[in-house]
Subunit: 326 residues, 2 copies
C-alpha cells in the first residue's frame, strides 16, 4: 500500500486541525463490541456509532469543519449546498450554530420529512427541478445572488478533513484495530479517514463498502479511472453518488479494496443490527455490516475490525425487511 503523498486534497494535519475545530460541536461517538457479529463471523467486530452523532449522521463533522473554516468576512453571506440528504441537515445545523444563513437547494421530489428537518434546523430551502443539472444550476444561481460559500457534500478539503476525524477517534478508542470498514458514496468519509488512518498506521487494512447497484467506486479502483454515477436505485440512499475529483485519487491509492454487497445483503444486515445488536441505523450504515457478514473484508480475524455505522436517519414506519422471510 502506498504512503500518502502531498498532492492529495488534504493531509493528516488538516484532519487533526479539523478535530480541534469541531470538538465543541460534535460528539465523540461510542464504539460498541458486537457480540452478534463475532458469533456470526468469528471476527472481533466493533461498531463506531456515527448513527448516534448529532443530526443522525457523520455529516455534521465535515459540515461543521467547513462552516468553522469560513472567514469572518464571508460568514455573514452564509453557505449553500444542493444535497437533499444528511449533508443538508448537517450543514443547516452547523450554519445555525455559527449564526450564519444556510441555503439548501432541494428537488421537488425530496421527501417532506427531509425538507421539514432542514427547515426546522433553520435553513432556507430553495426548490428546483429533479435532475442533477437543475440542482447544480440552481445552487450556482443562489451562490451568485447571495455570495454564500458553496459547501458540497463530499468533494471539498474542508468536508473530507472533517469526516476524517472519525478515524482519529477510532485509533484512540480501538488502538489495535486491524481493519476499518467504511461505506463509500462520494467518498468524503472514506478518503478523509484513509488519509488519517494510512498516515498514522501504514499497516492498517482499509476497506470501502459499496452497494453493487452503486458500484462506481469498486469499478474506479479496478480500472484506475473515475467511473460515472449509477442510476440512483440502491436502498442505501446515502451512497448513490459517484466519487469526486478530490476523493478518487485518495481511494485509488490508499484504500485496500472496495467490497460490493447486494440489496438483499444490505437489508438482511440492517435487520440483524436492529433485531440483534439493537441499534437503529439507516440502510447506508448496513452496507459495511453486510460486507463483513458476506466475508468480503479480509485481513486479520483476531484484530478488531471497526465498522462505521454512518447514520441513523431511517423511516421506522417503513423498515425494509418486511418483504423478507422471517
Amino acid at each position: 500500500m502506498k504512503a500518502p503523498i502531498a498532492s492529495y486534497a488534504i493531509t493528516l494535519a488538516d484532519v487533526s486541525a479539523a478535530a480541534g475545530r469541531i470538538a465543541p460541536y460534535v460528539l465523540r461517538t461510542p464504539v460498541i463490541d458486537s457480540d452478534v457479529l463475532r458469533e456470526l463471523t468469528g471476527r472481533a467486530v466493533v461498531f463506531k456509532c456515527e448513527s448516534m452523532q448529532r443530526t443522525g449522521s457523520f455529516k455534521i463533522r465535515g459540515a461543521t469543519n467547513a462552516v468553522r473554516s469560513i472567514s469572518e468576512a464571508d460568514a455573514s453571506r452564509g453557505v449553500v449546498t444542493h444535497s437533499s440528504g444528511n449533508h443538508a441537515l448537517a450543514l443547516a445545523t452547523a450554519a445555525a450554530e455559527r449564526g450564519m444563513p444556510a441555503h439548501v437547494v432541494m428537488p421537488e421530489n425530496a421527501s417532506p420529512t427531509k425538507r421539514t428537518a432542514v427547515l426546522r434546523a433553520g435553513a432556507q430551502v430553495v426548490t428546483c427541478g429533479n435532475s442533477g443539472a437543475e440542482r447544480e444550476a440552481m445552487a450556482a444561481e443562489v451562490q451568485a445572488r447571495t455570495g454564500a460559500t458553496m459547501v458540497p457534500p463530499f468533494d471539498h478539503p474542508w468536508v473530507m478533513a472533517g469526516q476524517g476525524t472519525i478515524a482519529l477517534e477510532i485509533l484512540e478508542q480501538v488502538p489495535n484495530a486491524g481493519t476499518l470498514v467504511i461505506p463509500v458514496g462520494g467518498g468524503g468519509m472514506l478518503a478523509g479517514m484513509a488519509i488519517a488512518a494510512r498516515t498514522l498506521r501504514p499497516d492498517i487494512r482499509i476497506i470501502g463498502a459499496e452497494p453493487e447497484l452503486a458500484g462506481d467506486a469498486a469499478e474506479s479502483k479496478r480500472t484506475g479511472r473515475r467511473a460515472p454515477q449509477r442510476p440512483p436505485v440502491t436502498i442505501a440512499d446515502g451512497l448513490r453518488t459517484s466519487l469526486g475529483e478530490l476523493t478518487f485519487p485518495v481511494i485509488r491509492d490508499l484504500v485496500d479494496d472496495v467490497a460490493l454487497v447486494s440489496e438483499a445483503e444490505i437489508i438482511a444486515a440492517m435487520r440483524i443490527i436492529f433485531t440483534r445488536a439493537r441499534l437503529v441505523i439507516e440502510p447506508s450504515a448496513a452496507v459495511g455490516v453486510a460486507a463483513i457478514l458476506a466475508g468480503r473484508v479480509g485481513g486479520a480475524m483476531d484484530l478488531p475490525t471497526v465498522c462505521v455505522l454512518c447514520g441513523g436517519n431511517v423511516d421506522l414506519a417503513n423498515l425494509p425487511w418486511s418483504a423478507l422471510p422471517a
Copy 2:
C-alpha cells in the same frame, strides 16, 4: 436511607459471587452517554444497555446465576418456570448452555413469537390456561413430575443476585454515578441492584421507575405493605407483576423512591430513544427514561444519572407511537 440488614434474601457477597459465576456467559453491556437526554433535561444521563444483553434483556443474568447454582445432582432434572416473557427465554438459554432440560409453562394466549423463541432456545414448552392460578398449578405439576428446580422470574435469591450484577458493572463503568434509575415489575432487578449499590455506595440515590397502571411498588413503599398486582394492561409488559416477598423488604428499605409514569409518557420516551438516541428498546426499558424526562427522579443534576435500558425485545412491525402526533 437505611443500611442493608442481614435478614434480606441476599447480600453484596451473593451479588459478587454471582458476578464471577455468570461472567463467562453474559455480556458486560456498554454504557452510553446520552446527549439527547442532557439536551432535554439538563441532567448527565448514561444508559446502561441491557437491551444489548444476550437474549435481549438483563434476565439472562439471574437465569444463568440460578442455572449455575444448581447442584450437579439436581442439574440433570432440569429447571422449570412459568414466565412467558424475557425470563423464559433467558432460562431456556441458560439451561441449554449447561446442557440441562428446561420446562417453560406458557399460557395458551402467549404470543407465537415468544413461544417460538423459547422453543428455538431448546426448552420444552408446556401449554396451560391463561389465569395465573392455572399457570402456577401447571408449573407445580411439571415440577412434581420431573423433579426440575423451580426458577421463578424474580422472587428468588439466585435470581436477585444475578440481576444485582448490573449495579456492580455500573459502579465500575460510571464510578461517580449519583443516581440509578431502574424499572420495577416484580423487583428482582431493583432489589438486587439496591443491595449491591446501597452497600457499596451508601449515599447513592436509587429510584425505581414504574408504570402508573402497574403502580403496586409505589403503593407498597407508601403504605409499607405489599400491594397486589394490578390488571396487566400497561404497554410495559415486563413490569406488570407485583413485588415478591423477598424483593419487597429490600425495596421498602433501600430504594429512595418509585417514580410513576403514564402510558403516553412511556410511548413518548420510547420514541425519543428510537429516533434520537438510535437505540432499539422495549417499552419496559422506556419507563426509566420517561421518569427522567418527566422530572420525577430528583437528586444531583451534575452527577451522572444511570438509567437501565432493561431490554430490547420489541415487535418492530408494531412500534407504538404511530398513534401519537408527529
